[in-house]
């Protein structure tokens, strides 16, 4: 199986605080991978580093064999929370922005997903509920046709009906050769989606393993396993 993402000894400091320390990671393509860790553990930073919007040199991160930042950006779709857009922007304006900006943006895919999620193009960004905004973020991220999707806490603060729809659209519109990394600090709802998990703890990668291995090895669900890891109740 080919490698979609390889990270070699990546560290990141900000305001003289270490956020990530010696991250090494190698992920196979085609999977759905859970990036787990408590709030502030560096999940978002790691995703932003991969997508090239946090600062790093061009040597630690390889996506689909590429290390140049602008090349990596053409392989990666990071869920963007749309804070760069004016609050008065209509959903249609944002979609047009994406169409102009990304050669890999699929109008057809966006149409399907937005219909499924009931997104109304004439609505303005400021008028959207958290749930609807979350749906829009996912619809835009998934409508790009790329190799690696980075969905940063897609369910955070979202009502349970919207959560179900978002999860369902991730399953429906994932192509076979693409890889999806979903970060979350709360595992239950995404647990059934995941092939593998990556746990971030103490600024570094604590564990990378398949969900099945964890279930077999520890006879624990990944949620329980993850909690045990954080409570320190698990011997390595």
């Amino acid at each position: 199986m080919s490698k979609i993402l390889e990270i070699d000894n990546l560290s990141y400091r900000k305001n003289s605080k270490t956020i990530l320390n010696h991250i090494n990671l190698s992920l196979d393509s085609g999977k759905i991978i859970g990036l787990l860790g408590e709030n502030g553990s560096g999940k978002t930073t790691l995703m932003r580093l991969i997508a090239g919007v946090n600062a790093s040199s061009e040597k630690n991160i390889t996506v689909n064999g590429m290390t140049q930042k602008s090349k990596i950006k053409s392989q990666v779709s990071l869920s963007d929370y749309l804070d760069g857009f004016a609050k008065s922007s209509r959903i249609d304006d944002i979609v047009r922005f994406y169409r102009n900006a990304y050669n890999d943006f699929s109008d057809e895919k966006y149409k399907e997903i937005s219909e499924y999620l009931n997104l109304d193009g004439t609505k303005r960004l400021a008028s959207l509920s958290t749930g609807t905004r979350g749906k829009l973020v996912i619809a835009l991220a998934l409508s790009r046709e790329v190799k690696l999707y980075l969905l940063d806490e897609p369910l955070n603060g979202i009502d349970s009906m919207s959560r179900k729809k978002i999860i369902s659209s991730i399953i429906r519109w994932k192509t076979e050769d693409s890889t999806i990394i979903i970060s979350d600090h709360y595992v239950t709802e995404i647990a059934s989606l995941l092939d593998d998990i990556v746990i971030i703890k103490d600024q570094t990668v604590y564990e990378v393993d398949s969900v099945e291995n964890i279930q077999m090895k520890y006879h624990l669900g990944i949620e329980e396993y993850y909690e045990k890891v954080y409570e320190g109740g698990l011997a390595r």
């Binding site: 900000k14 305001n15 003289s16 605080k17 932003r48 997508a51 090239g52 919007v53 946090n54 600062a55 040199s57 930042k69 602008s70 090349k71 950006k73 053409s74 990071l78 963007d80 929370y81 749309l82 804070d83 760069g84 857009f85 922005f97 102009n100 900006a101 990304y102 050669n103």
Partner: protein, 258 residues
């Protein structure tokens, strides 16, 4: 090159909308002031249209430079632009180019309106105004173009300089332990702006002293013209220098904040 074109389209649309907003607000203001004058002074208020227009142009230009500086700077630290698969160099250049084009758009609209106002003034036979429109020589047009060029370049220097200051503050505060606290940030801004202005002045004074000592004087129109040429040249050098530093900082250090 299609990626460059696509990004430029987004950037242009964004700034084009901003310029139109400014123009609409300006137009409303002019109309309101005109009617107030009409109410107070009656028919003679028509004579004030050109004056009103010229002063509004000055305000609009100033506001536009400031608003465009803000938009120009925000783009480079916004995820929606920085996630696009385009090199930082291309994004930076596209950004400054479209900011400039937005300004040019504003100038063109102003010129057209100016023409209309002239027409109105002629139609209502505003005599004093006619005298001003005496014979214009090709020399005058040349000087006007030169002045315009110099002002355009100077504006770009200001925009690039503002970006550079923001970037340096961003960079420095990223290394400080409490760099995210408002007060620390404020101090950093103060120091960086102070140092930058001092350095800029120091360099410019030295350049002009060097010219002056070599017997260069500004007495005649011709000498004024050559000063403008030299000034434009120096502005170009500043723009190139700022751009190179800004692009380097973007590539290696500048993160998105929204």
């Amino acid at each position: 090159m299609s990626d460059f074109f696509g990004v430029s389209k987004n950037l242009m649309w964004n700034k084009f909308k901003l310029m139109n907003w400014i123009l609409v607000i300006d137009a409303i203001a002019i109309v309101v002031i005109f009617f107030i004058n009409l109410f107070k002074m009656g028919y003679s208020s028509f004579e004030f249209i050109p004056v009103l227009f010229v002063s509004s142009i000055m305000i609009v230009n100033f506001v536009s430079v400031v608003m465009l500086a803000r938009v120009n700077e925000r783009v480079l630290t916004s995820s929606n632009y920085r996630l696009i698969p385009i090199s930082d160099t291309k994004l930076y250049l596209s950004n400054i180019l479209t900011t400039f084009l937005a300004m040019v758009y504003l100038w063109i609209v102003e010129t057209v309106i100016n023409g209309l106002v002239d027409l109105i003034a002629i139609i209502i036979k505003y005599s004093k105004y006619k005298q001003l429109n005496g014979n214009i020589s090709s020399q005058d047009i040349m000087s006007a173009i030169q002045l315009l060029l110099f002002m355009a370049l100077a504006t770009i220097v200001v925009w690039s300089g503002i970006t550079l200051i923001h970037f340096i503050v961003n960079l420095v505060s990223g290394f400080l332990p409490f760099g995210r606290q408002k007060f620390v940030l404020f101090l950093v801004y103060l120091v960086v702006i102070g140092l930058s202005l001092w350095a800029f002045n120091y360099i410019m004074i030295n350049i002009f002293t060097a010219f002056y000592q070599n017997g260069f004087q500004i007495d005649t129109v011709r000498q004024l013209n050559s000063t403008l040429w030299i000034g434009s040249g120096i502005a170009c050098i500043w723009i190139a220098l700022f751009s190179v530093i800004n692009i380097y900082l973007m590539k290696r250090w500048i993160e998105t904040v929204r």
